[in-house]
Symmetry: C2
Subunit: 200 residues, 2 copies
């Protein structure tokens, strides 16, 4: 960066912490923010501080929320006997966009990852077990990502959550809707074959 | 956005003002900033406010700077008789990266654009004329972009800056170094032909 100023360097480094932003993009963002009218930069600065101070984790499901417990946990129109377990708040957003699921959620805030030292105690598994112990939940749908860590976490949850009156299920993995077979990779196709359902 | 919170919506809209950031990227950035430890968001918020308050326009060349006049304008080792005119501070950065140019700069803060109502008075042309009137400058190199507006601005500058003892020149346009002829478009090739220089 040619502007030899510690404050500009600090801004550049701060932009680089955003997902998908490398050195060049951070440079463009920094120059844009410094060239644009002052209130543009101030707006982002204040929006960030304000949102970060208002948004917290729901004490029930660990999703991000402004009101605790979150609107999904307190909603009267949602099925309280089903809980869908996701890795991150973005998972809740993805499923809610579909608009079909009407149950509750539980955000793990990560996945088991022994190599990075992430164990069950670093996730919100304990809180999920408490929710199940309270007796209202009949089914847990594990919707962790289809990665090695996500699969391992799903298997772990199936083991620790198993109870006679609680069903633990896993979302289906297979060929995406609208996708041709030729675009699916072999692992996905293998899963699609194994998970076949009867048509008649 | 599923988090129905005005503060989150405001943050999302603020991220969208960054260059190259659409709705989806802004969503990712927002969720990242809300999920990451609180000091990550605060760091960006404060770096923005701090940089925006410290950085101003150099009163001589209009480049962004923390110290006014900027280090390039006050440098003893740079040639004060040559000034290179660019559209934006990013132009100064691009030329400085090359490291060959040792003259001064002048940032126009835009280009002439009658359709958007940008005339000479909206640019720093007046300040450039004052600098030339002060008598030290012998050559003005116009390095506005090779767009229709950039070319028009270059022609305008050539006309208004013309003085017997001041040379106004334009940077060369042609085939980029390392680029094959087959990758250059026809307009660039036309410029390259017209701007040919004798080899012997």
């Amino acid at each position: 960066m040619i502007l030899q100023s510690p404050s500009v360097e600090r801004l550049l480094e701060a932009f680089r912490m955003l997902p998908g932003v490398g050195r060049r993009t951070a440079e463009r963002m920094t120059l844009h923010m410094l060239s644009a009218p002052e209130d543009v930069a101030m707006q982002l600065s204040e929006a960030l501080r304000d949102a970060r101070q208002r948004i917290r984790k729901c004490s029930v499901c660990c999703n991000l929320t402004e009101i605790d417990p979150c609107p999904i946990c307190t909603s009267e129109s949602r099925d309280k006997s089903i809980v869908c377990v996701v890795e991150q708040p973005v998972g809740v957003m993805a499923i809610e966009k579909g608009g079909e699921y009407r149950g509750q959620y539980h955000v793990l805030l990560g996945v088991l990852n022994p190599l990075d030292g992430v164990g069950p105690d670093d996730l919100s598994v304990g809180r999920l077990r408490e929710r199940i112990a309270s007796g209202e939940i009949r089914e847990v749908i594990v919707a962790t990502n289809a990665t090695a860590e996500g699969e391992a976490t799903a298997l772990y949850l199936a083991r620790v959550l198993a109870q006679p009156d609680v069903k633990v299920s896993r979302i289906a993995h297979g060929v995406p809707m609208g996708g041709g077979l030729e675009y699916a990779d072999e692992v996905t196709l293998g899963h699609a074959m194994q998970g076949r359902t009867p048509l008649s």
